[in-house]
């Protein structure tokens, strides 16, 4: 009894020194530390031998548990020259620079270890990490070592490079952000200096005998304003011009107009020495505009919203040639008739016929079926599924680009671009604002024409300068920028600002089932049959722990540790079952055919059941049931208050009862939906006039995600593939979905609020402008003041509303 208690306590307390998981056995030890598995221990020993143990000092348990041992030949595909080109950044006679994507990077220890890579391999000169993008660039001597060896080294320490069919192209994005930064720098520099040089004008310091200095300052201002006008503001002009060409009045047009008018008026004033112009306001406008735009366009470098299936597929696959030799071949080079060898947890890259092996294919990402599908020899296995269990031999019948999956993906309806012509409400507001502005200008022009025609020019130009609609754009950009930022902090990464507005218009929400509302890698166990007593459970646990099959391990976690460890005659028939004589009991665990019993209650796919027999007497079976995400019930209840909520699933309807518990009995739920069915259904809803948001996760949802107004992909590991969508929701933040949606709806309120503030400033400015008495100093004060107050208002309110979304759910429960 005491030993049982001790072993249970030990199980609870001891955590692996490397990865932090609970150690189920206390036997794996090195240097006095416990590890949960040989894999973790091996990484530790590598680091220890190379005196890299500082890795463990920087963060607690920084290691990542390697679920499956990396196969020896996995990186053989990197011996191929054409494939190598994708990774090479630079190459000369001695050294070569490559870039890998390492999705496992998650803490400062990772950064430290990866930048100390040269200690593990002398041929590595230098390595540098970009943590946000999860990239590593390694410079090495290519004559002494190969890219493949480096990839294998990285895999050995737990940072296996992610190789996929698509190449990551990040170069164009960097160029544009570089030039934007330079433009901001120049306009900021000029803005500050122009204001400095305008100080005497502000304070009306009269220096009658030194009017030369005044002139000099004015000309200096002019020179400083030139780069602002011609270089920094060029984006605004180009965008306004493009809009006009399309006969479309976008928000940049009135701003471009204001800048041009201010510039010309100032030039005229300076050259004719009538005054000093408003160059400080002009450069200030450009500076704040650019700043707002930069803030709004900050992207998430490690995420991608435009991935297609090529990022999901592997780079290479093992091919067996005529002589029985196994080689690695690039997936893109597969031909019909090639013999493939597919290992456990590997994705099948092309449609093929099964020749050898027992296939248990997990299509959950592709079709949404939650249980793996059994396939026998001679049957066609479609590309995109993942094999679970033993290795298979397949013969390719269609090339990768011709497979069913890629045909589906390239289908026009899947590629349909979102309807981008619907403009933001900000554009409408700015249109109205411009019309009002021009009418005010006309009215005052008419007034001054009657009374004192010399003041017309002053009045009209100063009206147009002061009442700049830039305040509206500024409110929009800063609101969007800060809201996107706060949403990202809470776990919802939105692609771009206009998505926020679309979320406010949503009235229907459609959920996918597998992977979206269920948690893929966590399951619930249910046992049906004759109950097992403590002794039997311990023995069963012992049996299952001998196997590396994920189902066995999962069940074994639930069973108590045994005191006696008497195992005899252990036999494992991969894919079928296990048997052994344990502590006097003859146990068998596996499929019905292994246990020689008739199939009982065969309603659903048998794939997720493990049958148990003791001493050849059938006892019962363990059923793996999907676990629903925390908070599902609450968010559906809240969402139903203002939206219609539906379910579309690619899986069968075996869980209808459980689901109607969440969605309500009257909710519409459709099952066995193919990807095309899902897309058609969304289209149907849209034809009925509804604004639809789709929440999905896999390739099978990709058509629906593109078709709907807003597509959100749920992901438990944001470094993994997610289909093309408008936003990525971290699985851990799923329970916040209703609060995140209502936060997004605040966008309009904040923008309108800040716009009202800017109108107040405009009224004050206009008061002076219509009288023709607008002094440059007033304009120079009003413009930065209004800009700053708008920025503070929008960012402050966005923050205020965001703290209402609590990150940690205090109501922890699960059904």
């Amino acid at each position: 009894m005491q030993e049982v208690i001790d072993s249970i306590q030990a199980k609870q307390i001891t955590k692996c020194h490397h990865c932090g998981d609970i150690c189920s056995s206390l036997k794996i030890v090195s240097s006095g530390y416990h590890f949960c598995c040989e894999g973790c221990k091996m990484v530790y020993e590598i680091l220890y031998e190379n005196s890299l143990c500082e890795y463990y000092d920087l963060e607690k348990n920084p290691g990542i548990k390697q679920k499956f041992k990396v196969r020896d030949g996995k990186f053989a595909v990197l011996d191929d020259e054409t494939i190598l080109q994708k990774f090479i950044l630079f190459k000369d006679d001695t050294s070569c620079k490559i870039e890998f994507y390492l999705p496992q990077m998650h803490c400062s220890s990772c950064v430290w270890l990866l930048e100390n890579l040269y200690k593990l391999d002398k041929n590595i000169i230098q390595s540098q990490v970009n943590f946000l993008k999860k990239h590593i660039t390694i410079q090495f001597q290519h004559k002494q070592t190969t890219i493949r060896k480096i990839a294998e080294l990285l895999a050995r320490i737990g940072y296996e490079p992610h190789l996929s069919l698509s190449s990551v192209k990040t170069k164009p994005k960097i160029k544009t952000s570089k030039s934007t930064l330079i433009k901001i720098g120049i306009s900021g520099f000029c803005f500050g200096n122009i204001m400095l040089l305008s100080f005497p004008e502000y304070f009306s310091i009269q220096m009658t005998n030194e009017s030369l200095i005044y002139q000099l300052f004015s000309y200096l201002n002019l020179v400083l304003a030139l780069p602002v006008f011609f270089y920094s503001a060029s984006d605004i002009f180009i965008s306004a011009f493009k809009g006009l060409r399309e006969k479309f009045l976008n928000i940049d047009t009135p701003i471009a107009l204001a800048i041009i008018i201010t510039f010309c008026q100032s030039i005229y004033e300076i050259i004719t020495q009538r005054g000093t112009g408003y160059l400080d306001s002009m450069s200030g406008i450009v500076f704040f505009m650019l700043l707002g735009r930069y803030f709004q366009n900050k992207t998430y470098d490690a995420l991608s919203f435009d991935r297609d299936f090529t990022s999901y597929f592997p780079l290479g696959v093992t091919v067996i040639d005529e002589h029985g030799q196994e080689n690695q071949l690039a997936v893109s080079k597969l031909k019909i008739g090639d013999r493939l060898k597919i290992f456990n947890d590997e994705i099948i890259p092309a449609d093929a016929i099964l020749f050898k092996g027992k296939a248990k294919i997990d299509y959950s990402f592709v079709t949404g079926e939650s249980a793996p599908v059994d396939r026998s020899i001679g049957e066609i296995i479609y590309a995109g599924g993942k094999q679970i269990g033993q290795s298979l031999e397949l013969e390719v019948i269609k090339e990768v680009s011709q497979s069913y999956l890629t045909q589906l993906w390239n289908n026009d309806s899947f590629q349909s671009k979102k309807d981008e012509t619907k403009t933001s409400f900000v554009h409408d507001l700015s249109k109205h604002f411009t019309i009002v502005l021009f009418s005010v200008a006309l009215l005052s022009a008419a007034y001054w024409y009657k009374n004192d025609s010399s003041k017309i020019l002053d009045a009209v130009t100063s009206i147009l300068i002061v009442a700049c609609p830039c305040a509206l754009l500024l409110s929009a950009t800063f609101t969007n920028g800060s809201m996107l930022n706060y949403l990202a902090k809470k776990g919802l990464y939105i692609k771009s600002a206009n998505v926020l507005e679309k979320i406010s218009d949503i009235n229907t929400i459609v959920f996918d089932k597998t992977g979206t509302i269920t948690q893929q890698h966590e399951s619930r166990l249910e046992y049906e049959g004759v109950a097992l007593n403590q002794f039997q459970q311990e023995a069963l646990g012992l049996l299952l722990r001998q196997s590396s099959h994920p189902l066995s391990r999962l069940i074994a976690l639930d069973l108590p540790l045994a005191c006696q460890n008497n195992i005899q005659n252990f036999k494992e028939k991969k894919g079928y079952g296990l048997s052994a004589l344990i502590n006097g009991l003859f146990l068998k665990a596996g499929s019905t055919s292994f246990l020689d019993i008739e199939k009982i209650n065969q309603i659903e796919n048998e794939g997720s059941r493990v049958y148990i027999s003791i001493n050849n007497e059938y006892y019962g079976f363990y059923k793996i049931k999907a676990k629903y995400r925390n908070g599902l019930k609450t968010i559906i209840r809240e969402l139903k208050k203002k939206h219609t909520v539906l379910l579309l699933s690619g899986d069968n309807d075996s869980e209808t009862d459980k689901l109607s518990h969440f969605f309500g009995k009257s909710a519409k739920m459709l099952f066995n939906q193919t990807p095309q069915d899902k897309l058609d259904f969304i289209q149907q809803l849209q034809l009925e006039g509804r604004n639809v948001m789709m929440v999905g996760d896999g390739l099978n949802d990709s058509g629906a995600l593109t078709q709907s107004h807003v597509g959100i992909a749920v992901s438990d590991n944001t470094n993994n593939f997610s289909p093309a969508c408008d936003g990525i929701l971290d699985g851990k933040s799923f329970f916040l979905l209703d609060k995140l949606i209502s936060y997004s709806k605040r966008q309009k309120q904040i923008i309108v609020g800040s716009f009202i503030i800017s109108i107040l400033y405009n009224i004050i400015g206009l008061y002076y402008a219509v009288q023709g008495t607008l002094k440059p100093v007033i304009a120079a004060i009003l413009m930065p003041l209004s800009s700053l107050s708008i920025i503070l208002f929008t960012v402050g309110l966005s923050y205020f509303f965001s703290i209402k979304i609590k990150k940690h759910d205090t109501n922890q429960f699960s059904i």
Binding site: S51, S108, V111, W112, N130, I174, K178, N193
Partner: protein
């Protein structure tokens, strides 16, 4: 009073120097990654690469 012209020009030149430094750093790529340097800064530097003798063998 004419000295103010010299002062203004001097200050402009200094400010211009900073602007040039900014543009140079952007072009060099220092703004591409603004997060990792903050992590890297906290690591201990070894004085010389091979100074630590391997005494574990």
């Amino acid at each position: 009073m004419g000295v103010i012209i010299i002062l203004v020009i001097a200050s402009l030149i200094v400010a211009l120097g900073f602007l040039v430094a900014f543009i140079w750093s952007v072009k060099k790529g220092q703004f591409e990654d603004d997060y990792t340097p903050s992590v890297r800064m906290l690591f201990d530097n070894e004085l010389v690469k091979e100074s630590k003798p391997e005494s574990k063998k």
